[in-house]
Point group: C2
Chain length 566, copies 2
Amino acid sequence: MDGKLEVNGDVNDEKQNHRPATIAAPTNPMVTPLLNDLYQFTMAYAYWKAGKHNERAVFDLYFRKNPFGGEYTVFAGLEECIRFIANFSISKEEIAFLREILPPTCEDGFFDYLQGIDCSDVEVYAIPEGSVVFPKIPLMRVEGPVAVVQLLETPYVNLINYASLVTTNAARHRFVAGKSKLLLEFGLRRAQGPDGGISASRYCYMGGFDATSNCAAGKIFGIPLRGTHSHAFVSSFMGPDEILEKSLKSHDGSRICEDFLSAVQTWLSKLKRLSILKGVFGDTNQSELAAFVSYALAFPDNFLALVDTYDVMKSGVPNFCAVALALNDLGYKARGIRLDSGDLAYLSCETRKFFQTIENEFGIPGFGKTGITASNDLNEETLDALNKQGHEVDAFGIGTYLVTCYAQAALGCVFKLVEINNQPRIKLSEDVSKVSIPCKKRSFRLYGKEGYPLLDIMSGENELPPKASERILCRHPFNESKRAFVVPQRVEELMKCYWTGNADKKREELPTLEENKERCAEHLDQMRPDHMRRLNPTPYKVSVTAKLYDFIHFLWLNEAPVGELQ
Amino acid sequence: MDGKLEVNGDVNDEKQNHRPATIAAPTNPMVTPLLNDLYQFTMAYAYWKAGKHNERAVFDLYFRKNPFGGEYTVFAGLEECIRFIANFSISKEEIAFLREILPPTCEDGFFDYLQGIDCSDVEVYAIPEGSVVFPKIPLMRVEGPVAVVQLLETPYVNLINYASLVTTNAARHRFVAGKSKLLLEFGLRRAQGPDGGISASRYCYMGGFDATSNCAAGKIFGIPLRGTHSHAFVSSFMGPDEILEKSLKSHDGSRICEDFLSAVQTWLSKLKRLSILKGVFGDTNQSELAAFVSYALAFPDNFLALVDTYDVMKSGVPNFCAVALALNDLGYKARGIRLDSGDLAYLSCETRKFFQTIENEFGIPGFGKTGITASNDLNEETLDALNKQGHEVDAFGIGTYLVTCYAQAALGCVFKLVEINNQPRIKLSEDVSKVSIPCKKRSFRLYGKEGYPLLDIMSGENELPPKASERILCRHPFNESKRAFVVPQRVEELMKCYWTGNADKKREELPTLEENKERCAEHLDQMRPDHMRRLNPTPYKVSVTAKLYDFIHFLWLNEAPVGELQ
C-alpha cells in the first residue's frame, strides 16, 4: 500500500459481490423501519406532497467530539446498518399504523409510495468497522432519494452511536489494562436493556475484550464465554454434611478418590499447621468450603472460586487452596480465584504470597502462578490506580462502567444533509462546532514517515485526491489561522462502498467480527502514542482542502441572514 | 384502606386469575433464557451434580442506593419479568449450544433436566410497577428451586435495572419541569441500542412524559407520538421556486387559496413594515421560507416549524409567523415553533414578544400564546436553570440525557439469596452497605397522620405485621443507635404475588402502562416534599423490626470467621 492511493472500487479482489438477498436481517428483530422518529415520516409526507421525495440527497453521519475526554473513537455498528438497509421494507401492518397516527388529511398515494420503498436507489459509503476515527470526518455517507435516506437517519444513528461508544470504551479499558491481561465483559445485568447487553458484549469484544459472560452473545456472535459461580452459590451451602457424592476420578482416569471432601479437609489442616501461615487464618467458613468442594466435583478441570463471600484471607483463599491442592493430587490444575470486593491491590498481592508460600512449602510447581481474577465496579480509573499501586491480578471482569459507558453515556452522532440535487447544503449554528461541512465529500488519512497517521483531510468529491510525496495544504475547516502543508508518505482513502443498491458497482464484503476486532487492534497500535494517552492527549488533526475551505465559507456567508443592528 | 392492613391475597376482587398461557412473551424477542450470564448455567450444573438443584431458595432483588443524588426511585420493569417467567423454556437449540460451551465432562442428565425446566414451582412477589421505592427494601422476592431461580437472576436484574433507572430519571425531569409543561421524549437516536430506545420511550412515559418521537414505541405500547421536521428538511429546499403546487383549501373547506406562497410572502412584507419590529429582522432565508410553506401545505392543521437552521430571530421566527398568519387567514391555527440551539431562555422570551406583537398589531386573538417547544441537550440542570432565568417554553423535547441516564448510567440492582431450605442466609462484606439482609421477609410502608409515608419496615415472614395505631420499634438494619418508635396511621404491605407457578393462589393482574403511569404520579405526589427536592433531599427511612434486627446480627457473628491477630 505504501506510496499508493487506495481508491474505492479499484481494488481488484476475488471476493464475490453479494447481492442484497444474501445479507441477513438485523440481529435485533426490533430493528424495523418503524424504529424511527415520527418526524422522519411527517417529513417523508411533506417531501412527497411537494414532489421532492425523489430528489437525490447526500447525508453525512459523523460525531463532533471524541468521548471520555480522549482524542480518538472506534467506529462500530456498520454491519447492522447494512443489514438494515438490505432488508428495508415497511410492512402492511406498519403502514396501517402510520395511517392511524398521521393526520387524516394525508393522501392515500403517500401510503402506496411508502409501501413500495426499498433501498435499491441508495448508496452507502463508510469507513470500515473497527477503524479509529475522528470528529467531523464522515463515518458514513448515505446517498439516495431524500425521503428514503431520511428514513434511515434515526435507525442509523441509533445503531452507530452506542456501538461506537462502547467499542471505544472497551478499547480504552484495554489500553489501561495492558495487552497481557485477560479482559472479561460481565455487564449484562447492568446494561441499558437486553439489547444494550447483547450489543455491549459484541462491541466490547471488538474493542479488545477477550470474552463475555453473556451466553446469548456467545451464541449469536461466537464470542468466548467465561464465568463460574456467584456469592449465592456459596451461601446456598450450610456445611460439608450436604455433600453426599464425594468421589472424584483422577484427571487421567487411572484412579478414584472415594472421599474428596476428606482429602480437602486434610489439606486444610496441613495449611493451618504451616508455621509461615500462622496468624493468617483460623477456622474457615465451612459452608464456603462445602460450596467450593461441590463446585470442584462438578468442574474439576475448571475450578475457579469466588473467595469473598465471608472473608478473603481468613476463609476464601485458604478454602480455595485446600480444594486446589486436593485437585492437584488427582492431576487437576485449579484455574484460580475471583475477588469481588475490598482492596483489590492488597488482596491480590496477599493472595499471590499465599499461593507462592504453598508452591514453596509443598513443592508444587506453578501453584504460585494460579490465576487471580478481579471484578467489582472496575473502570479505567480503578485499573489505572491498581497499576500504580501494584497488583497481582491476571484477569479483570468489568461490567457496569464498561457497558453503560458510565463516564459518558452517549456519543453525539448526527446525520446531516450536505447536498441535494448536486447543490451543496450547510446547516448554520450560533455554535461554530455545530456548523455542518457541506458538499459530497471524500476523505483521506495521510501517513507520515514514521508510519503514524498524521491527519485526516476532507475534499470535495471531484477534487483530485491527495498523493503520496506531494505537498498539500491542510486547513482547519472553521479556523482561518490553523493550516499546514503536509507531504504524506502514504495516502489512504477512508470510505468504501458497502451498499450499492441496484447500481452496478463493486461492494465491500462485510467483515467478520474477528476481522473487525483485528482491524481495531491494528489501528490502535498504529496511532502516535501522544494521541492515545489518558492524560492530556494531543488532538489528532482533522482538516479540509483549501478548495473545500473556501467553498464552506462562501456558502456560509451566502446562507446567513444579514442583521440590521440599531 | 385507612387503618386497615392490606395483606397479599386478602383482597377479594373480581379480576380473573389468568394462567400462564395468557401472558404474552417478552416485548423484545431477544429476551430468552440464554440472555444470561454463563455462571448461572455452571452453577445450575454444580447444584444438579450435588443434588441440590431442587432445594427451595428465596432471593431478594433490591438496590442499595437511590440514583441521581436523589432520595427516591421508581420501580419499573416488572411486567417484562412476569412475561419472561410465564414463557420460560430452554429450546432444543439453546440446549445444544449449552452442551457446546460447557465442559465435555458435564453429564447428559443435566441437559435433560434443563430441557424440562419451567417456572411452575416458582413464586414471584413484587412491589407494584410504578411505585416509589427505596434502597434495601426488596422490589421482588423470588422463591423456587435454587437452580431455576438462579437462571432468573441475570434477565431479571437486566430488565429491572435500566427500566427503574430511566423511569426515575423521567420522574425527576417531570418534577423540575412542573406539571403544566408538555414533556416529549426524543431519545431514540442516542439510546444505548434499539431496545434501549424502545424501553426508554415506554418507561419515560411511565415516569411522567406525555409523548415520544419513537414510532415503534407508539405502536407497541400505545404511547402518543410527536414530531414534525428536522434541519435537513429545511436545508433540502433551495428557494420558493421549488414549490409547484401552491393551492390550499381553507380549514372549513369553503374556499381555496390558489397561491398560498404569495399569501405568505404578503404577510412577510407586512411584518417587515411593522415599525415595532424594525431592526429585529431584515431579509429572511428564502430556502427556509420555502420549507415552511411546503410543510404547511402538507400539514396545515399541524404546522410546527424548527426555526434555528439559519437564525432564529432574523429568519426562523419571522418566516414561521408569515406562514402562521397566512394559515390563520384560512382558518388554520399553527401549532408553534421548535428551538434546538442557542440561549433557550432568551430566545423563547424574544419569540413570545414577537408573537404577542403580532397578536396586538393585527388583532389575532391567541396568537401570542402560540406554542414554543425547546430541545437541544436538555436535562434536569438545564431545566432548573431555565426556570430560574425565566422562559416562555411550553414543551420540552428531551433526548440524550434522559434516555441514557447520563447523570448516572446504571442502577446497581442485585439479586441475593436470603434463605434456602428454610435456613436464612447472609452475604457478608467488608463494606457494611453490601451486607445482605437475610430471611424470607415481608415489608410494609407506614403512613403518618398527614398522609405522607413515614418509613418502610421489613419483618421476618412469620412475624405479626405492624398495625395501624399500634406503636412499633423501627431499627436501622446495621446501625445500632438508629431506631425510633412509630405509631402508623395506616399500614400498607408492599409486595403482592405476581406469579404463583402452579400453586393455587391468587395472582395480581399485570396493570396496563397507563395504570402504572398513574400509580407513579400518585406515589410521587404523596411523598413528603423534603424527600423529593433536588438539593439535599432528606433520606427516607428504611428499617427492620427489632426481631429481624437481632436475627441479622446473630447470623452475622455466626458466619464471620474470627481472625487471629498477632
